[in-house]
């Protein structure tokens, strides 16, 4: 999933303080699981802002709505359809992709991010998330015991731990597990330690962000409606 974190409420207030009709758009997928930008959190931000405006005697009001996914035009269009009047400003609580989709659908309405998009990770327990993938476009997990060094080694090393690995922890911060210690341990339990001897060659980063902006088309799902 995409792990997100809500921006400080003061920063959100800065985005909307000169508007009259504010829409807070929650996202029911990743942001909701993160307890940062789902339906409840959208209502929470709405409540906080409205209390603030009331306290300041300002005639501004915030509404909230949410979609199953803000990264999908069908769901965002539903939000737009439900608007009696177009809002002056929208705070999107979806990841960066969601913010942009909301922008696309609402066209002239300014859309601001209410959350910071952080990483692709797992939900390890309620409220606890950790980075697991960097979307490099060419998965090498087959070579590394199912543990990703690209995202989980602080230096993205592909051929074993640097000299800073100590007691299973990374030199950068002792709250970070050394990915290569994890890989070593996993390969050992799988009786595949010989994999550690292989030199993983220089990576082709073109499949990652370094090859330019990426797009993906699943051919069989796409119908050309103009084709005779």
């Amino acid at each position: 999933m995409i792990v997100v974190k809500r921006k400080p409420i003061k920063e959100i207030l800065e985005f909307v303080k000169n508007s009259k009709n504010i829409l807070i758009a929650g996202c029911g997928t990743c942001a909701a699981v993160c307890l940062e930008g789902g339906e409840k959190e959208a209502a929470e931000i709405k409540g906080l802002l409205n209390l603030h405006f009331k306290n300041e005697d300002k005639n501004i009001s915030a509404l909230c709505d949410s979609a199953v996914r803000l990264c999908d035009p069908e769901f965002v269009k539903d939000i737009k359809l439900k608007c009696n009047v177009l809002p002056d400003v929208i705070i999107s609580l979806g990841c960066g992709a969601g913010v942009q989709m909301v922008s696309d659908i609402f066209e002239s309405v300014p859309v601001f991010p209410g959350i910071n998009t952080t990483f692709l990770g797992t939900n390890d327990e309620l409220g606890v998330f950790s980075e697991k993938c960097q979307g490099c476009g060419e998965c090498i997990l087959d070579k590394t015991g199912g543990i990703c060094p690209v995202s989980r080694c602080s230096k993205s090393l592909l051929n074993g731990p640097c000299g800073g690995s100590s007691d299973g922890k990374c030199e950068v911060d002792d709250t970070i597990d050394c990915a290569w210690q994890l890989i070593f341990d996993r390969l050992k339990t799988m009786n595949m330690l010989d994999k550690m001897q292989e030199i993983i060659p220089v990576k082709d980063w073109r499949t990652s962000r370094d090859g330019g902006v990426r797009a993906m088309v699943k051919e069989e799902a796409v119908i050309d409606k103009n084709e005779e």
Binding site: G160, P161, G163, S166, Q181, V202
Partner: protein, 310 residues
């Protein structure tokens, strides 16, 4: 036109090599480089020039190495993977070679969060093992990594680092083997204090025959004070200092001013003497960081003078 690396000549001749380290200034003050160089010239076979060590911005390792070369010292240019992608690395290597630099130490590099620009983005396009294999290919095939011909000559005496005390311990010798397979002709180790553990490591090295495939230079770092010893033990990842050494430094501290440094040097000299007797150790790398002036004394007391002139 290009003379061979002095370090390579010493090692090839079978003599016990001595290298030390020189940290470039945090700016353009070349007098710092020249002064440090004058302290160590003639006492070592080659000098490592750090590449923005601990991610602190300093005069470039290429420029500093070039100055040393001009002063008649054989530089070992260090190059980290943190700050350069494969394009910049190859370009800088052509530059380094053109300036007469003949030794290269390939390193991952300390993470930038340790340095004075912790907010910066890192590169890590390739890792230190891939770096070794890329440059090895460049020198063997005279082709850039992409396969295009290199215009002109290119060569480097290639080295890598090894931390025998990093975790997982079992993997350390495998990692060393990977570096050798990737093209490391010499290896400089992290500073060694736990001699028994290093002996154990060297036994694994010999069992795999690695000491016959590369030259191993054991790293030593003279302790200046008890405080420094404690700090290194507790804060530097991958450095292990036995209690016995800590106690010696503690006793020296109690003995009065100047005694700690004296004891630190004494320990260092003892370590070098012991390292010399370990089969498969081909030299010693003295990391007297910001203490370059002690290098001559250490080398002399360790019985490593005069240095061979080849």
């Amino acid at each position: 036109m290009h003379q061979e690396s002095n370090l390579k000549k010493v090692l090839d001749s079978g003599k016990f090599a001595v290298t030390c380290e020189l940290g470039p200034p945090k700016g353009t003050d070349l007098d710092v480089v020249k002064e440090k160089a004058s302290l160590i010239k003639g006492y070592v076979d080659a000098v490592n020039v750090t590449d923005n060590q601990t991610a602190i911005v300093r005069l470039s390792s290429i420029a500093t190495s070039h100055i040393l070369h001009d002063l008649g010292i054989d530089p070992i240019m260090q190059m980290v993977c943190r700050d350069r992608n494969r394009i910049a690395m190859q370009s800088d290597l052509f530059g380094a070679y053109s300036l007469g630099i003949k030794n290269l130490l390939c390193l991952s590099g300390d993470h930038q969060t340790f340095g004075n620009h912790p907010e910066s983005k890192n590169v890590f396009d390739i890792d230190s093992i891939q770096q070794l294999s890329m440059i090895n290919k460049m020198k063997n095939e005279k082709k850039a990594y992409c396969g295009e011909e290199i215009e002109g000559d290119f060569d480097m005496f290639l080295g890598g680092a090894s931390n025998p005390f990093g975790d997982p311990y079992e993997f350390r010798v495998i990692r060393l083997a990977k570096k050798i397979n990737a093209g490391a002709k010499f290896i400089q180790t992290q500073c060694i204090y736990d001699m028994d553990k290093f002996e154990d490591f060297m036994k694994m090295v010999r069992d795999m025959g690695l000491h016959k495939k590369t030259y191993i230079l054991a790293g030593v770092l003279p302790l200046k004070s008890f405080g420094m010893a404690k700090y290194m033990k507790n804060n530097v990842a991958g450095v292990q200092i036995p209690d016995e050494l800590l106690n010696r430094m503690k006793t020296a501290k109690a003995a009065g001013k100047g005694m700690s440094a004296k004891e630190g040097i004494k320990i260092c000299v003892e370590q070098i003497k012991r390292l010399r007797n370990i089969e498969g150790v081909h030299g010693v790398h003295v990391m007297a960081i910001e203490w370059e002036k002690k290098v001559p004394q250490i080398v002399e007391e360790a019985g490593l003078l005069p240095r061979p002139e080849l």
